[in-house]
Structure formats: structure tokens, C-alpha cells
């Protein structure tokens, strides 16, 4: 890879930005680069990072999934309720994954069959899944004290917290699907020009259903991690987290128009957001400013992307 190619490579830029932030934060505070804080950071980032992987696929396809926070809550509630009914925790875990995947599949079917734009279809699901979570539990949070979930939420393996492994495996698999497999190629084609994709014989509707099902599945996977961390399944969990997932994808440099972007940058985007929150906390700056800063970062990220596109 030559220098000019490196310059235009979005991964290089975003990694540099993230590294720069880490250096600045560790210079500003001796507490930033400690094992304790890094463990904390990786736990904080895990939920949003897993959601961002699914959101990245959806956004590359030219769509959006606003329902992931609610689907996460619904999946968590399914797990909590089943465990309370003395169902085997492993079975409950898979039932939760199934619930999320089903909700995502419904999103995909509504978008392709009823021809409803993704923004509206998933906005509907945002209400439906959250409402169902509340209906199922009557608004009550169930404790989850099964060793399986406590292990997922709190244990370490080789010195690293388990949620981090969920993140790594998620990104590994999603990156392979998107960059090495036919399905991923189709997602990029659909995001680039859906009409052309259809004319060239790509089964656009089928692939879209799979895209939203994948996003739903990853929301459920995030629910598994969340349940482990909270040791409970409150139906009001993860409100507005979809916006953080979308922000992570955008900050990472994945084009909101669709068709362009590298999966791993969504993880780096999530890391940058977590570092802002974590860093400002350590520096004792009010959390009110964090929201302002994250907002500014989103706009600057897209602005930089626009500058790059106009150079193209």
C-alpha cells in the first residue's frame, strides 16, 4: 500500500484520532491508562460497540435501525422472565437471542413487504418492542443471579473482561461477512444503488430481511451482556442507546448515505465516544459537557467525511 492510498484510507485516520485521544487523556490524568480504568472502559463500550456493528451493516445498506435499544430491552426481558419461571439459563439465553432476531426479521419484512421506509418501520418497532417489554413484565425488573450471566457480565479470562470477547468475536464475524462474503458484497451494492442491485439480479428484499434480522440478533447479543452486567432485566433499560450506536457508526466514518465504510471503524467510533465520556469523568468535567462534546464530534466527523468525498 503506497502513501497516497494510506492518506485516503479512512481506517488510518480514525485510528490516529483514537490513539491521539488516548495519549492526550493519559497525559492529562494518571488514572486513565490504569488496568482498572481500561477494564471499566471496555465494559462501558461493549454494549454500544455490539449494537454499532449491526447498525453499521444497516447503514451501509442505506437504511437505519432505530429499534435496537427497544429490541435489546425486549430480549433482556424475555431472558429475565424465563429465568424467573425456572427455565434453564442457557435456554433462556437462546430464547432471548431468538426474540431479538425475530423482532429484526419483522423490521425487515415490514420494510420490504409493506414498502415502509426503514426510519418509520424501525421507529414503529422502537415503540412496539419497548411496549411489549413493559407488558410482559408489568414494568417490573427481574433479578438474574444465574452463574452463567454473572460470568458473562463480571468474569475475566486471560485478564480481560468477558464482554470484551463478545465485542471482538462480533466484529470479527461481522467484518468477515461484510468484507469477504457474497452477502456483504450485496449489502454494499444495495447501499450504493438499490435499483441497479435489483436489475443485476441481487435478491434485494431477501438480503434486507437478513440485514435487519442480523441487527436484531446483535441487539439481543448486547442484551445478554447487559443482563450479565446488571444482574437484572429492567424493561426500561437501554433507552436512546440506538442514538449512541448510530453516533459510533458515523464517528467511525461510515457514510450515512450508504454503500461505503469499513466495519471495524464502528468499533473505533464507539471507543472514541466511550473515551470522551470516561475521560471527562476522570477529569471531573460535568457530564453535561460530555453530551455537547459528543454532538460536536458527530458533526465534525461528517464534515470531514464530506471534505473527503468532494476531493474524490
Amino acid at each position: 500500500m503506497d502513501i497516497s492510498k494510506l492518506k485516503s484510507n479512512s481506517i488510518v485516520w480514525i485510528v490516529l484520532v483514537a490513539a491521539l485521544m488516548a495519549v492526550v487523556l493519559s497525559l492529562l490524568s494518571p488514572f486513565f491508562m490504569t488496568v482498572g480504568n481500561m477494564t471499566n472502559l471496555s465494559k462501558q463500550v461493549s454494549i454500544v460497540a455490539i449494537l454499532a456493528a449491526g447498525q453499521a451493516v444497516v447503514i451501509i445498506s442505506g437504511g437505519i435501525d432505530l429499534s435496537v435499544g427497544s429490541v435489546l430491552a425486549l430480549s433482556a426481558v424475555v431472558i429475565g422472565t424465563l429465568i424467573k419461571m425456572d427455565v434453564d439459563p442457557t435456554l433462556a439465553l437462546f430464547a432471548g437471542l431468538l426474540a431479538g432476531t425475530l423482532a429484526g426479521t419483522v423490521n425487515g419484512l415490514v420494510i420490504t413487504r409493506a414498502k415502509i421506509p426503514p426510519f418509520i418501520a424501525t421507529l414503529g418497532m422502537l415503540g412496539i418492542a419497548r411496549g411489549l417489554a413493559l407488558v410482559i413484565t408489568g414494568g417490573v425488573s427481574h433479578p438474574v443471579l444465574s452463574p452463567l450471566f454473572l460470568f458473562i457480565g463480571n468474569a475475566k479470562w486471560l485478564g480481560l473482561p468477558i464482554p470484551l470477547y463478545f465485542v471482538v468475536v462480533t466484529y470479527l464475524i461481522v467484518a468477515i461477512i461484510m468484507h469477504k462474503m457474497v452477502f456483504g458484497r450485496h449489502v454494499y451494492a444495495i447501499g450504493g444503488n438499490e435499483r441497479v442491485a435489483r436489475l443485476q439480479g441481487i435478491p434485494v428484499d431477501l438480503q434486507k430481511v437478513k440485514i435487519y434480522a442480523l441487527s436484531g440478533f446483535l441487539a439481543a447479543l448486547a442484551a445478554v451482556v447487559m443482563t450479565g452486567r446488571l444482574a437484572a432485566t429492567p424493561p426500561s433499560v437501554a433507552q436512546a442507546i440506538e442514538l449512541q450506536a448510530i453516533a459510533a457508526v458515523i464517528i467511525g466514518g461510515i457514510s450515512f448515505v450508504g454503500g461505503r465504510g469499513v466495519i471495524i471503524t464502528a468499533l473505533i467510533g464507539a471507543l472514541i465516544m466511550a473515551m470522551i465520556t470516561n475521560g471527562l469523568n476522570i477529569l471531573g468535567i460535568s457530564s453535561f459537557y460530555q453530551q455537547v462534546l459528543i454532538g460536536v464530534v458527530i458533526i465534525v466527523a461528517v464534515w470531514l467525511d464530506n471534505l473527503k468525498s468532494s476531493n474524490r
Binding site: K180, M181, V182, F183, R185, Y188, A189, G191, G192, N193, R195, V196, A197, L199, Q200, G201, I202, G259, R260, R312
Partner: protein, 269 residues
């Protein structure tokens, strides 16, 4: 011959004697109350360029959409190499070796040339892309047509209109294509690029591909097509060798929808 008998005597010695690649017989299509096509016939022979003419609303697009599988006829049949073909969708058409090139450059601008060439029929194993094979095949396919592009890794969006249309053509003829429908392939291109597309098309013609060429540029049609078929109000007006007429006569038939009497000037030649 199912050509209109109008100029049958003069026409037959110029007509190819071979069997037509594709025959559309008695095609009718109506959309609710609107009769778009009435009893239209069309045939294309190997190695010829057939100009399909008519002004907007004459039924050209509807007719080729039916052949390309993007629409279906209410009545009539399509024969390919003498056998009836049932074309219900674009994939059926492709399976019969019918490919279409659209005016608006049907490529995904965000993908590179091999990705576009193999879109929808990627070379893969167990769902994994074989990028190397697709790149190598693309290089071969394009060099066979003397198409040169800078790099197989650049997005086609950054290429010129001519290069992109060349990739479209490369894609269309790569998969054992017998009939190529070109719907105003030069409309979005400059003069030099149009010339390149026509040279490419001539190359395809030599390979025995039958080409349906739709264009509003009468000069282009007159100098480039072997035969013309004019539609008007969803009906055949005339189908004959292009050089049976003058440019003015062709224009007048497109506008009036009536076949002209053979002009005196032409007969003297």
C-alpha cells in the same frame, strides 16, 4: 420471413438467411385502459444491429422491457432460437442470454469494476467471494473488448462516462450473451465516448451477437444500424434494412406513423 411484406422483394436479398436469434410474435400489452402495444412483431438476427425507433410513448421501452423480463406481455410469445421462451423476470431473460444496457449507466458507483461485472452472480465458494478469480476474469473480459481501465481497485464512480459504459458492456457480454438490448447507450456520453461505445458494439456484432439499438439520434441510427423497426402508437410501422430509406424518410415515418412510398431519389441510386 415475418417482415412486413411492404418491401419484401427488395428486402429479401439483403436479409440474413439465417434463423432469427429472437422473435417476438404478436405482442400486446395494455396497462388498464391504455393500450401500449398492439400485435407487435420483432426479430433479431445474429450479428446485426437492429435500430428500434419511435418517439416517446411509441412503445419501444415497453417492448424491450418485455424482452428483458422487466415487464410481461398480455398476449403474444417470444421465441429464442426457434423455441418458445417464457420470460417472467430479469433472471429468466439472462438465462436465455438476453442482456440489457441502460441509458443511465447501471453500475454501482461505490464498487470497483470486478464487483460491478459480477454483481448478482459473484464467483464464490461456501458464500465466500473469490475476489482474485473475479479480478482475473474481469481483466480478461475487458481486454478481449480492448477496454482499458486504470485500476481494478478504484470505484467506478471516479471513472469517465465512457469507461463506465464500457464496463456495462463488458458485463453484459461476459455471460454468454446472445442478444444485447442497448437502450440509448450513448445518450449520457460525449462524442468521443459515443464513438468508443459504437466501436465496441461493432466488435460484439462480429462475435455474432444480435443487438437491439434504441436511439433518438437519427444520424447515429442511420449510419450504425443494419435494419430498423419503427413503432408508432404501439404498432409496427415498418421493418426493413436501414439503407432502404433516406434519413428524412425515417424521420417522417417516426413522426407520421405511416410507411413512406419508396422515394424516386433512392431508386435511382
Amino acid at each position: 420471413m415475418r417482415v412486413r411484406p411492404l418491401f419484401a422483394n427488395q428486402g429479401e436479398d439483403i436479409m440474413p438467411k439465417t434463423e432469427p436469434l429472437v422473435e417476438m410474435r404478436h405482442i400486446s400489452r395494455n396497462f388498464g385502459g391504455l393500450q401500449a402495444l398492439t400485435n407487435v412483431n420483432l426479430e433479431v438476427y445474429p450479428g446485426e444491429v437492429l435500430g428500434l425507433l419511435g418517439h416517446n410513448g411509441a412503445g419501444k421501452s415497453t417492448l424491450i422491457k418485455i424482452l428483458a423480463g422487466a415487464d410481461t406481455a398480455n398476449e403474444g410469445a417470444i421465441f429464442i432460437n426457434g423455441h418458445e421462451a417464457h420470460i417472467r423476470n430479469p433472471n429468466d431473460a439472462r438465462a436465455h442470454g438476453i442482456e440489457t444496457i441502460y441509458q443511465e449507466l447501471a453500475l454501482c458507483g461505490n464498487l470497483d469494476a470486478p464487483a460491478n461485472l459480477y454483481m448478482g452472480r459473484e464467483i464464490s465458494k461456501w458464500g465466500f467471494l473469490d475476489k482474485k478469480a473475479m479480478k482475473a476474469e474481469t481483466a480478461k473480459a475487458l481486454s478481449r473488448l480492448n477496454i482499458r481501465i486504470k485500476s481494478f481497485d478504484t470505484e467506478v464512480e471516479s471513472m469517465s462516462g465512457g469507461q463506465r459504459q464500457a464496463i456495462s458492456i463488458g458485463r453484459a457480454v461476459h455471460f454468454d450473451t446472445k442478444i444485447l438490448i442497448m437502450d440509448e447507450p450513448t445518450a449520457a456520453l460525449g462524442m468521443e465516448e459515443s464513438k468508443m461505445v459504437m466501436e465496441l458494439t461493432t466488435e460484439l456484432k462480429k462475435q455474432g451477437i444480435g443487438i437491439i439499438w434504441i436511439s433518438h439520434d437519427i444520424y447515429e441510427v442511420y449510419n450504425f444500424t443494419d435494419r430498423i423497426s419503427i413503432l408508432h402508437g404501439g404498432e409496427n410501422v415498418v421493418t426493413a434494412p436501414t439503407k432502404d430509406f433516406t434519413e428524412d424518410e425515417i424521420v417522417s415515418m417516426i413522426i407520421s406513423g405511416r410507411p413512406v412510398e419508396r422515394s424516386a431519389a433512392k431508386q435511382e441510386v
